[in-house]
Structures are given as structure tokens and as C-alpha cells.
């Protein structure tokens, strides 16, 4: 790879551009759509030349949707807030429960540890709908249906196995002698976990947290069944754009853009830790 000719560089540039175009085009198109009215979106042939308007965003933020059939209340902003709260809280709970568990599974080989870890992973195998039916009944009986608490609990089905299995691998990659050295130096196991294992696994924890957040954010079916209107996340709330007078493409596009932003911001922020993790190669001494 040391000697790349100009032609090779040019070809590589073209190839990368093609890939980026291919993957980014739908998002680019949606961003364009979010600045158009339904009429300009639906004209044939479509064009990228139009008078940009921010009325879609205004409608979402003020919560009033003006359509040809009259005005309509939408609570997109509260959906967005629900998504943010549900995802953050689920990831927080998932990290608090999952990281120590991952450490236990990674470091202490106890009887049945492998089986328990696998059982936790197997939650991801079951189709959510299959789980949901009995869960809905139980939740209604014990009063957890349509509560944030109940939703966060159910979200652990998505978040916990993911965090557990990713972080466990990072803990296993830390040479045991580094922790042994800290113990022998006179520190308790808990202080060793906190001061040595946690900082060294931090890139893994950041990656797992980010992934878990995205998975929780994008979840649809749990919230659809278990949450009522005031606790719905954006994924479910977007259904409101399908109105009696047609689908509000402009608002849908603006909603998509707004709901991408938090995850995008988080990914950009967490990227630092992910890259740092890759350059922390001196662990082996």
C-alpha cells in the first residue's frame, strides 16, 4: 500500500464517492423533502430545485399540523422527548446492570456462568411479538402497562444482552496480570474493578452504550403495544402523519431528520472514545 499511483488514488476516490452517494442519497433526499411542501414533493418529475420552506419544522415544533382537511394536533416533540428519555434511561439501567455482570462473566468462571450468559443472549433470538403477548397481560395485571418504568424494564430485553456481550469481550481482553498487579499492590477487588478494569474497558463500554442506545431508539413494537399516546416514542408517533387527508410526506421527512439528530450527535461524541480504544494498544506491555 506504500506506493499508490495517482491513477489508483483517483479510482479509489471515485469508488468511495459512489459508495457514499449510494448510502447517503436517501438521507440527502429526505433532508431535501423536509424543506418542501407536500405539493412540491409529489410533483412529477421530481426536482431538486424548489423554494425551501421551514413550515414542516414549524408544524412539528408547535404541534399544529395544517392540512387541506383542517388543522390537526400532533405531539411530535413529546414523542421525541419520550424517545430520548426511554433510550437514555434504558441504556443507563443497562450499563449499571450489564457492566458489572459482564465483568463477572468475563473474569470469574463460576459454575453455569456460560449457560447464564447464553440464556441472556437468547432473549435476542425470540421474536418480540411472541414475548409481547403474555407480557402485555402480566403488565396490565401488575399495573406496569403504559408506565415509563415498565417500558424501560422491557427495553432491557434489547439493551442488556447487547451490553453484556460486547463489554464482556473487552474485559476478557485486559490481561489478567494487570489486575493481579493492582491487587498485589494492595488494592481491593472492587477498587481494581473501578480503577483498572473500568477505565481499560471504557472504549468497549462506550461502543456498547452507543449501539444499545441506537437499538432502543429504533425500537417500535414494544412501545406500540405497551405505551399509550403520551408515552410513545417517535417511532410510534410517526404513525400520526398518516392522516385522513393523506400522508404528510414533508412532516414525515422533517420528523426523520429531527429524530436522527440525537443519535448522530451521540455517535459523533462517542467516536472519540471508540478511536481512543483502538489506539490503546500498549495494554500487552
Amino acid at each position: 500500500m506504500e506506493h499508490t499511483s495517482t491513477l489508483e488514488k483517483a479510482l479509489r476516490g471515485v469508488a468511495i464517492t459512489c459508495v457514499i452517494l449510494f448510502f447517503m442519497f436517501p438521507i440527502f433526499w429526505i433532508v431535501l423533502m423536509s424543506f418542501q411542501t407536500n405539493e412540491t414533493i409529489l410533483r412529477v418529475p421530481p426536482s431538486i430545485i424548489f423554494d425551501p420552506t421551514i413550515q414542516n419544522y414549524v408544524a412539528l415544533i408547535t404541534g399544529r399540523l395544517e392540512t387541506s382537511a383542517g388543522s390537526l394536533e400532533i405531539n411530535f416533540m413529546s414523542n421525541l422527548w419520550n424517545s430520548l428519555f426511554l433510550s437514555s434511561a434504558s441504556v443507563a439501567v443497562g450499563l449499571i446492570l450489564g457492566v458489572p455482570a459482564a465483568y463477572a462473566f468475563g473474569r470469574l468462571k463460576f459454575r453455569g456462568s456460560e449457560d447464564i450468559a447464553f440464556t441472556l443472549l437468547s432473549f435476542r433470538f425470540a421474536p418480540p411479538l411472541l414475548v409481547l403477548l403474555p407480557l402485555t397481560i402480566y403488565f396490565q395485571q401488575i399495573g406496569l402497562a403504559d408506565t415509563y418504568f415498565g417500558l424501560i424494564w422491557v427495553y432491557q430485553l434489547i439493551v442488556l444482552p447487547l451490553i453484556l456481550w460486547i463489554v464482556r469481550g473487552y474485559f476478557e481482553d485486559i490481561p489478567a496480570d494487570i489486575e493481579n498487579a493492582y491487587r498485589v499492590a494492595g488494592h481491593s477487588w472492587f477498587s481494581t474493578f473501578r480503577k483498572v478494569a473500568l477505565p481499560l474497558a471504557m472504549p468497549g463500554i462506550a461502543a456498547a452504550g452507543l449501539l444499545a442506545f441506537i437499538f432502543a431508539w429504533n425500537n417500535f413494537i414494544f412501545a406500540l403495544v405497551l405505551a399509550s399516546a403520551d408515552k410513545q416514542p417517535v417511532t410510534v408517533g410517526a404513525l400520526a402523519f398518516v392522516t385522513a387527508s393523506g400522508i404528510q410526506y414533508g412532516q414525515v421527512a422533517a420528523g426523520v431528520v429531527l429524530s436522527i439528530l440525537p443519535t448522530l450527535a451521540l455517535a459523533l461524541y462517542a467516536q472519540r472514545y471508540l478511536v481512543e480504544g483502538l489506539s490503546l494498544g500498549a495494554v500487552k506491555g
Binding site: 498487579a181 498485589v184 499492590a185
Partner: protein, 369 residues
């Protein structure tokens, strides 16, 4: 603090690493654990440090049974073979970690870290992270971390293994001084016999899940228990020749190149048995053809090694013998030379078991005097 291990057994799954191992190290003594890789040296250190627990047997430090005592409560300083530095902390924090655990004041920590790092000549790199340190600096940082809290027991797991030859040589000279200044009981693991002989009061040779021989460096060098141990020490290594001692008028002798080479009277019990004769290269001298017990040999090659010259010679039956002599002394004139074995340097081993044949008591007492 003294270290006492009794009847230790340790296995990992089905692999038994240590079996019925007992060992005592007196307070202030430096003991070297020596042996080929896989002999269980590192496991033994880990058992003492409390990082792993024995299946059977007891470990007593300073007379106290260590069963159930966590590593952090044993008051041990340990340097790991692969350094095991904390990659997210700089050298200063690495060295300071045992002091932090003892809740020393910040001022005291800085002072102690400063002292130790000056002693080890790493005071100029204290603010570097481990990945910015050279191997030698890493090794010194690891050593500093082990020494800084002045533990009464020091476990050093082959600390010079991963450093370059020059530094290893320097440290081999420095370490004995450093260790004696610590007043600690030291167990030092190494695979380098020169390091072993330079550093310690006693050497414990490990093989086959236990300690094969324990003694002073001289004892192990001059009277190894088995052929295997004899091979481990000495460079160039010991000459081993198959012989069958015979009875002569003046005592037992062996035949080499047709010549009768007398061996010590104490070896009378070995007469007629299949044996292996072991003789160190420096216990062989070149002599004139007329000398008593002279063995004719043909010289194949000579290798000067600074302070000594090593000669490779073959006997009439094409058996190779290495002869070592101080570099300044003259060698043989021609390729056809004669050698004589110094009787005190001749060891006999049982060819079947590999165990050294003891000289008979009467003579042995005379030799010891």
C-alpha cells in the same frame, strides 16, 4: 518475613503443574527459582502472591497461614514477567499505586517514588505512559512498583527476560546490591543460569512438578543431582560420555580413546554398571602424551570467547568433547593432542535413571574437608 510452602499441589483442569511441593525460604534470604519454561515457576509465585489458590497444601508467610487471605492483604511486592503496568496511568502513578493502597500522604508518595525512580534511573520519564517507555524503562517501572512500599517479601518473575542483552548485563550487576539494600525475602524466577548464580543465596531447580534440587549455586554446579540439572548449568555445557567403570589395581577407571582414565576411589560401587560420565569443560586440561591418564584426541575447532577459549575435540571413537581454558593460556601445538580429566571434576550418573552416583561415604567425607 519467612516463606514456608508445604505439600503444595496445583492443577489447571487436568494438567497438574505442581505436586507435593515443599519449600522454605528464610527471612532475608534470596532464593532463585530456576528451571525450563513450563516447570511451574510462575505458578509458584502466583500461589505465594495469592493470585491463584493451591488445590492442596499450605502457604505460610511469616508463620501465618495464608489460606483465604486476599492478595492485597499479604504485603507482597511483585514484578510480573510481562511487566503488567497499568496502561492508562503514567510511570509515576504506576509506581505510586502500592503507596496509594496504603493511604500514604501525597507528600510521602512523591518522596518515595522519587527515591525509587532515582535508584532505578527512571526519574526523567515518570510522566510518561507505559506505551511511551522503552522495554528497559518499563521493566524498571515494574521493579520500582514492586520495591516502592518496601515489602518484606519480594517476588520477581523473570524481570530481565524482556530487556535487551546490554541492559540485562547491567541489571545483573545492579540487582544484588539493590536486593540486599531492601532487606526483604526475595524469590527470583529466571531461566538464565548466570543470573541465577549471580543473584542468590540458594537456587531451587524446578522440574517435573516439583523441586528437583535445592542448594547453593556451588552445590548445584559441582554436585548436580541428575544429568538434567547438570545440563542446565554451565556454558559451554557439561560433557557427557557413556562409560562403564572398570576395576583397576589403583582403583576404578574408565576407558576413553583406549586410555585408562582413573576416577575417584569413592566410585567403586559403580564398577560394571552402565554410567554417563559428566565433566565440565573447565575440568579438562591439555597435557603431553607422556602424562599419566592422557587421552589422545583430535582437535576440530577452537572458539575464542573473550575471557576463555573453547576447543571442540573428538576422541578415537568420534565422541565430542568440549574443553575450556583461560584465554591467555597457550593451546595444544598440533591437532593431535592429549587431555586429562581432573578427577575431582568427574561426575558419574546412572545411565538408566539419570541420577548422580554418590561417592562412597568414607571418601566423600575426606573430599568435603
Amino acid at each position: 518475613m519467612s516463606i514456608e510452602l508445604s505439600n503444595i499441589r496445583k492443577s489447571f483442569k487436568d494438567n497438574v503443574v505442581l505436586e507435593d511441593l515443599s519449600l522454605e525460604v528464610a527471612t532475608g534470604e534470596t532464593l532463585v527459582l530456576f528451571g525450563p519454561s513450563g516447570a511451574g515457576k510462575t505458578v509458584l509465585l502466583r500461589l505465594i502472591a495469592g493470585v491463584v489458590d493451591p488445590d492442596e497444601g499450605s502457604i505460610r508467610l511469616g508463620g501465618q497461614d495464608m489460606a483465604g487471605v486476599e492478595p492485597e492483604d499479604r504485603g507482597i511486592g511483585m514484578a510480573f514477567q510481562n511487566f503488567a503496568l497499568f496502561p492508562h496511568m503514567d510511570a509515576h502513578a504506576n509506581i505510586a499505586s502500592p503507596l496509594e493502597a496504603r493511604r500514604s500522604s501525597a507528600q510521602e508518595i512523591d518522596g518515595r517514588v522519587e527515591d525509587v525512580s532515582q535508584l532505578l534511573k527512571i526519574d526523567h520519564v515518570l510522566h510518561h505512559k507505559p506505551k511511551e517507555l522503552s522495554n528497559g524503562q518499563k521493566q524498571r517501572t515494574a521493579l520500582g512498583r514492586a520495591l516502592v512500599a518496601q515489602p518484606s517479601i519480594l517476588l520477581l518473575d523473570d524481570p530481565l527476560r524482556n530487556v535487551d542483552a546490554k541492559l540485562r548485563f547491567e541489571m545483573r550487576l545492579e540487582l544484588p546490591r539493590l536486593l540486599s539494600s531492601q532487606n526483604a525475602t526475595v524469590i527470583y524466577v529466571t531461566q538464565d543460569y548466570k543470573e541465577a548464580m549471580a543473584l542468590c543465596d540458594r537456587i531451587a531447580v524446578m522440574s517435573d512438578r516439583g523441586i528437583a534440587q535445592i542448594g547453593t549455586p556451588e552445590e548445584i554446579y559441582l554436585t548436580p543431582k541428575t544429568i538434567a540439572i547438570a545440563r542446565l548449568f554451565g556454558d559451554p555445557s557439561i560433557n557427557l560420555l557413556d562409560v562403564t567403570p572398570e576395576a583397576g589395581e589403583e582403583g576404578p577407571y574408565v576407558r576413553l580413546s583406549g586410555a585408562k582414565v582413573p576416577i575417584r576411589n569413592g566410585y567403586g560401587q559403580a564398577i560394571g554398571k552402565d554410567c554417563v560420565l559428566g565433566v565440565r569443560p573447565e575440568s579438562i586440561r591439555f597435557v603431553d602424551a607422556a602424562a599419566a591418564g592422557a587421552v589422545p584426541v583430535t582437535i576440530e575447532a577452537e572458539t575464542p570467547l573473550n575471557e576463555k577459549t573453547v576447543t571442540l575435540a573428538v576422541t578415537a571413537r568420534n565422541r565430542e568433547i568440549l574443553i575450556s581454558r583461560p584465554a591467555t593460556t597457550p593451546g595444544p601445538d598440533s591437532n593431535d593432542a592429549h587431555i586429562v580429566l581432573e578427577p575431582d571434576g568427574v561426575l558419574l550418573f546412572d545411565r538408566e535413571t539419570g541420577a548422580r552416583v554418590e561417592t562412597e561415604p568414607a571418601t566423600a567425607a575426606g573430599e568435603a574437608a
